[in-house]
């Protein structure tokens, strides 16, 4: 196994811990009334987000999903502006117009979360097309869930990317459920990575709860893409520990399943691994406290930020019509 720099391992932990705690904080703040919209948390799926994003450069781009907070934080998104967006404030990433499902930060290569299952996959292919046309060595990575692989958008995008050999990575986070229906009832195959066979590019299965495994698989796919060898499909097998949305009664879970997956919780598992590798408890604690302070600040920033002015609803639909007088 490759040996990684200690700082790199700590950075993996920091980002995973930040995602986990951001989600728990957002859920809590929603309960307290700061956040008006719904939340689809990615608690349990931190390793796929962090492992994949760390294999990208800042000017590489991602498209994300309705369960996208982890992808955004993994790619370097600022929890302050995210929390403000969830709280529907004018200081949020989208000025309060988008909410959880639509956060974007083009400076960080985050082209947007998405409210439509599979909706962002074709745009990632288009971004890769732009890079290819301009002979830039950048890549696009599209996150989507297992459910999205049954959408036409996935298949059309994968096929086009294959025909044009575009620098794109299709990253499927398989959490075993498309909303409330198990994969077995949605698709006739166990490894969704095998879907790539139809499009003649590699399909790789990785342990989606192991950030290093995810990082290595993504790194290889990114290298392939940068060399002009075309797309790769990566399937990270993982599990979400909370409902499809907050408040989901989760009647669909199999008995014992949650307990089994909790034994493989990526955060304590990786924490243990760090300790075994010689990281001290106090070093880890320091990271955790720093993240908690960052989130305290994010909540204060969000709750003390102004709500948007109502006129703002009419601006910003078009590039050159700012007063809403379209009709």
């Amino acid at each position: 196994m490759t040996e990684y720099f200690h700082d790199f391992l700590l950075e993996i932990y920091r980002r995973m811990y930040l995602i986990r705690e951001f989600e728990l904080r957002a859920i809590e703040e929603r309960r307290r009334g700061l956040i008006p919209g719904f939340i689809h948390s990615c608690v349990g799926q931190e390793a796929t987000a962090v492992g994949a994003c760390l294999a990208l450069n800042q000017n590489d781009v991602i498209t994300s999903t309705h369960r996208g907070h982890g992808h955004l934080l993994g790619k370097g998104g600022d929890p302050k502006f995210m929390m403000a967006e969830l709280a529907a404030r004018s200081t949020g990433y989208c000025r309060g117009r988008g909410g959880s499902l639509h956060i974007a930060d083009f400076d960080l290569g985050i082209l947007g979360a998405n409210g439509i299952v599979g909706g962002g996959i074709p745009a990632a292919v288009g971004a890769a097309l732009a890079f290819s046309l301009r002979k830039e060595k950048r890549v696009a990575l599209s996150f989507f869930g297992d459910g999205a692989t049954n959408q036409g958008s996935f298949h059309e995008a994968a096929n086009l990317a294959a025909v044009w050999k575009l620098p794109v990575i299709f990253f499927c986070e398989n959490n075993l459920y498309g909303e409330g229906t198990p994969q077995s009832k949605q698709a006739p195959l166990c490894d969704l990575a095998n879907r790539s066979a139809s499009y003649c590019f590699p399909g790789i299965v990785v342990d989606g709860n192991d950030p290093i495994a995810v990082y290595e698989a993504t790194k290889n796919a990114v290298e392939r893409a940068r060399q002009g060898e075309g797309p790769t499909l990566i399937e990270g097998k993982t599990y979400r520990y909370r409902g499809h949305y907050e408040g989901d009664p989760q009647v669909y879970r199999l008995p014992g399943e949650m307990e089994e997956w909790l034994k493989r919780d990526p955060i304590p598992t990786f924490r243990k691994r760090l300790l075994e590798k010689g990281t001290s408890e106090s070093q880890i604690k320091q990271i955790e406290e720093q993240v908690q302070r960052q989130l305290d600040e994010a909540v204060v920033f969000a709750s003390s930020s102004p709500v948007p002015k109502v006129e703002d609803a009419l601006a910003g639909v078009y590039a050159d019509i700012h007063d809403g007088k379209v009709f």
Binding site: A123, A127, L133, E156, Y318, I321, F327
Partner: protein
Amino acid sequence: MMREISYSEAIREAMCEEMRRDPSVFLMGEDVGVFGGVWGVSHDMLAEFGEERVRDTPISEIAIVGAGLGAAMMGMRPIAEIMFGDFLMCAGDQIVNQVAKARFMSGGKARVPLTIRVTSGAPGSAAAQHSQSPESWFMNIPGLKIVVPSTPADAKGLLKTAIRGDDPVIFLEHKMLYGDVGPVPEGENFLVPFGQANILREGKDVTIIGVSIMVKKALQAADILAKEGIEAEVIDIRTLVPLDKETLIKSVAKTNHVIIAHEAHKRAGPGAEIAAVLAEEAVEYLDGPIMRVAAKNVPLPYSPVLENYVLPDAGDIVDAAKAFWPGRK
């Protein structure tokens, strides 16, 4: 005298000029390259620009529009061709939920200079899945601009405005207008702005607002009406979004009568929106009902006899105009 070229050549000229002046413009779609477009619009463009910039795609409307979106957000100015307006529905989510909303949802971060070129209208016996006029399907979606040129000059000037603009545009080319020939200004800086309707014929008795091919039929109707002593003012709407309310209201204030003519189905077609605007803002000028001349509310039939019955024509406009003055011979 200005040289004359066809509507189809005018569109091709607009694309070629923009591709020559801006390396970020490219064309993709089904059969746009080797085939030259099933309507021949992009003929020989492959030879000039090469297969990187004139890209044949699989028959995958979701991927064509979605790839256009992604490339546009990354600074390109794609022209995505959808062969038939009817097929836009295959890409429905990409157009409605992704392309149209990207700028707004992202708080203005996303810029989507994407032109979706698409053919519309009935070319004759193409039946219900190859003949529709889909403009009003998308008028209810904020974020899209909707362009309906009726002349070769407008086809060129409006398309260039679409390509240079920073918003997504659905650019509807009527199949039965491709062969029409007319004067088209030369030179790459000939642009026709959006949101400015064009008064093609002045008249004092009735305003006929035409959409796409029905502008041509409105002009024919105006000739017939003139012989009967009715002076019609014919307005080419040019763009449905944004809509030039001012020109329409001014004309109605003068003529006190209005007919809206389009080839889309009558129910909730573009005329419904225009009529509602006039009812809200110009009702005091009207001496009669707001009339719509449009396709009947049935799928377009294959049989020429049935199709002609369902589609609107110049005679229907003449009849609607004459009905304003029932006592008159």
